[in-house]
């Protein structure tokens, strides 16, 4: 099985005055389609930073990221954006919904660069919201949602463009057992459905799920053996 998402010697440093802080340090990994991989590690270990680089929204200080066999680091900005929106869905820790937009509008937002929502896109968006038990809130402005509802709206938005890879940062942080289990079912389903899924988390509910193919451990920016 060839890797769909690949990190090669990925490093990101932050300059903090005179000191240089290394958030992610020489990380190499590969995730194939059909895999559900968990990325564990204590707070501040660099999970979000790694995810951001893999998703093409943060530029690495060193190393390379390959998505669907192509190096995105070498690409020009315009190209990289087009490449990542075609292949990767991202759910950030901050979730990043537009508060004044309705749930459905938020979910449809990634479709605009593709030419806006067609009828089947709209159906897919509604189906996703139903699958995530959010369909009753479709018209509600995002600012009215609870933390868990926002989490699920962000997941629906990441999936609306039918990406082959999904990157999620703490997707169950705000969820009760029941909602968390729904989200995990969706992720497992995606993996079965030949998606490459990477979940950054320290939620034991995820780490102990049988569907999780592998757990990677990050500590102070480096991948370590558990």
């Amino acid at each position: 099985m060839s890797a769909f998402l690949e990190a090669i010697g990925l490093t990101r440093r932050h300059r903090d005055g005179d000191a240089v802080q290394v958030a992610v340090d020489d990380v190499s990994l590969a995730i194939a389609r059909g895999e559900l991989v968990a990325l564990a590690g204590p707070s501040g270990s660099g999970k979000s930073t790694l995810l951001g680089m893999l998703g093409g929204i943060l530029t690495p200080s060193e190393g390379d990221v390959r998505i669907a066999g192509e190096s995105i680091v070498a690409m020009r900005e315009h190209h990289r954006t087009a490449h990542r929106r075609a292949h990767v869905g991202i759910v950030l820790q901050g979730l990043a919904l537009v508060p004044a937009m309705s749930v459905l509008e938020n979910v449809l937002l990634p479709l605009v660069p593709f030419g806006g929502a067609r009828r089947d896109d709209l159906e897919r968006a509604r189906a996703l919201l139903r699958r995530l038990s959010l369909h009753e809130k479709e018209r509600a402005p995002a600012r009215q949602l609870s933390g868990g509802e926002r989490q699920r709206a962000a997941i629906a938005r990441a999936l609306v463009t039918r990406p082959s890879a999904l990157l999620l940062d703490e997707p169950t942080a705000h969820l009760d057992a029941e909602s968390a289990s729904v989200v995990l079912d969706v992720l497992a389903e995606l993996a079965r459905d030949d998606h490459a899924v990477l979940v950054a988390t320290h939620d034991p509910r995820i780490l102990t799920r049988p569907e999780v193919s592998r757990v990677l451990h990050l500590e102070r920016g480096r991948l370590v053996e558990p």
């Binding site: 929204i57 605009v112 705000h174």
Partner: protein
Amino acid sequence: MRKTLALFEYAIGALARRPGKAVALVAGIALVTGLLASILSLHAALEREAGALADAMPELTVQAMQGGRPATIDAETLEFLAGHPGVRSIRPRVWGYLFVPSLGANLSVFSVAPDAPELAEVATLLEGRAPRSKGEAAVGDTFARSLGLRPGDSIALPTGSKFHLLEITGVFGAEASLQAADVALVTEPDARLLLGYDDGRFTDVAISLASPTEADVVAAQIAEHLPHARVVRRDQIARAYALTLGARAGLVGAMLLPLLGCFLLLAWDRMSGLGEDEKRELGVLTLVGWDLRDVLLAGLFQNGLVALTGAALGLLAAHVYVFGFGAPLLFDALLGWSRLHPTFELAPAWDAGQIVTVVAFVVVPFSLASLAPAFRAADVDVDALLRGGA
């Protein structure tokens, strides 16, 4: 194309989500545009009036000068002018200004010969007839209306310490209403009495030429023979009018400039500055795969819509203000010299140059104002979103 439409739809939605800001910006731009367009179109309309006025002027006007001040013209001069080659006919005129205390304004008094071409060319009798004998007068419609005068009424005009009674025989309007507003036409004897001219002396001489193209040459020849005379060509008068108007429009413009500047700065700031939520929104768009070009185009659409709506409203308002209401206030500022205002039938006209000016100075800069901040913000805020709270 589908994508452009989708971006456009997003832009409309984004404006609708911040209606307060959108309305404030549209109103501000409408005001700026409206003021600018009002000045431009009033100025253009006045220039057209002045042009019509100049057209009715004699080809050459000769004034005698004494000590650098206008003096009266004597019979000898008339004889010389009448006999000059290139001159078709001369018309000595008696006219001047008469201060009327009860009006608090100057009345322009013209003697009128029954065949006076000025009257035929520019003035139309609205009521009654032209004065034919001593003691009769025809007055401009603005003047007549301000005193409630009709043909058959009489007015007493001051001559020194006494009053001279005139019967109104007619009221006239004019194409170039600038001219007819505060004018009284009387016969020559009355004009001499009111203005204090002795018999055989005239204010100036209107000359019509055998060939209009010789105006320069004939003017120069006359000036040579009459070194103390002033010879004015028609085109010089037209230019003088245009200059006066231009200077006044410029003055009004200059007075409004700081105001306009403030508005522009304010609106620019509101338009180009981004609130926290807008920055965040740009970050979200980048996150979900919008290209910088998409973000910029959406911003351009938003500001373009605001600027176009504002400018269109402003132009419309200016049109109604100038041509519908006769531009109160601004009119006074541009026509300050004449206390008795002409009845102003400004011919409504859309001026392409004016619209281009407004688009160039208002719409384009405001639309472009979105680009810089969007450019800056689109990249920066993803990093914050990456770790930021919900």
